[in-house]
Symmetry: C2
Subunit: 222 residues, 2 copies
């Protein structure tokens, strides 16, 4: 659907390991910091060091997607940012709807990181009539049964599931029926979705577990 | 600090790739689902299939930490859950404090996934006097300047940073000064922290970018 966007494609994007794609986001964020701090160029060594990877790792990851950087110059931050955004598909705006306007939904609506990375939250839906018909930080909240028309009329492609675990599958089903092609799920459950709908689950407890592992194993190092 | 907890340790935990540790959390969650659904045992093939990994990947990941499973039986879900929790360090409760009681802080306080995985949010702090002195879902909210005494008196080990990007470093510094050993940062900025404090950053835009990559590259597959 979007392959025409990319200039060179040494490897089929579907052959690229997930871990590499997830590091692309880290490289992108670090390059954005570097550019904002006035650095026009950087090196694989510097980029890696900031993130805790080797320079070889950085070069190997980027090599999946083409040739970047020049000998003696390194990477031009602005160019590499544009290239990574093109690879990730975030070189254009994505229209996003949120299902669930509880604390998590409100937090996601207010999250500044989305807008700056290319995501427009155009609407939210909820089943609670005391919330619908209003705006939260400029985002209109509609009744759940208007999801189909919102997705169709506003060209929404991605949906965020921000409801409790017990109703997450139902929320996701509604998004699929409405026609979104990607779902980001914040509820701590695994969703069953059709193969033609991409989805990523954000399990916040997983992040805490990773932190625990690091804290718990700190003591064994001198 | 916590190595005595583990029985066998074929590889130094610090030598284990991050990606393997992060998959442990996925295995754990899937095993918990299987056990809850009445499955006493499972196989590397089944576990992998549910999560989109090969059986070889599952076996290789677990082999970092010891010998699990039996020929002809597979893995006993309960035993493997206990083993993974011991590896991750979540076979005990962790005491957690949240800095920032805006929408995100409230969402984190109400997030059911934390309590079920071993994390006790014992307190929250905020600078806004209209919020402090109250409780949010049973969690008391104190003024920021009481952070030191909360951490000391309640034996808090982990801190969640749920403040806006502009004040995240300051919040993290306060947590370090107070004595926490691990920080989970939700603000979309990179924190500078001492080497003896573990930290994990949760960049929600990164998760959306991963979803985009998947959606954007779907069309090239027949």
């Amino acid at each position: 659907m979007s392959n025409s966007r990319r200039k060179s494609e040494p490897v089929d994007p579907k052959e690229v390991p997930k871990a590499v794609v997830s590091r692309l986001s880290l490289y992108l964020r670090e390059l954005q910091h570097l550019l904002a701090a006035g650095h026009a160029t950087t090196s694989s060594g510097r980029l890696g060091r900031q993130l805790g990877f080797t320079d070889a790792q950085v070069r190997r990851d980027l090599a999946y997607f083409g040739h970047f950087g020049q000998p003696g110059v390194g990477y031009r931050c602005g160019e590499l940012i544009a290239a990574i955004r093109s690879i990730l598909g975030t070189d254009r705006r994505w229209r996003v709807v949120i299902v669930g306007v509880g604390n998590l939904g409100r937090a996601l609506i207010g999250y500044k990181g989305f807008g700056s990375q290319g995501f427009n939250i155009v609407a939210a839906v909820d089943v609670d009539p005391s919330i619908t018909g209003r705006e939260v930080e400029g985002v209109p909240v509609y009744p759940l049964d208007q999801l189909d028309s919102i997705v169709r009329e506003q060209g929404v492609e991605l949906g965020l599931v921000a409801v409790p675990a017990a109703t997450a599958q139902k929320a996701a089903d509604s998004l699929v029926t409405a026609g979104v092609t990607g779902i980001l799920n914040f509820a701590p459950v695994t969703l069953n979705l059709p193969d033609d709908v991409s989805h990523v689950g954000v399990d916040l407890a997983t992040e805490l577990e990773q932190l625990c592992f690091s804290v718990a194993n700190r003591g064994s190092q001198p």
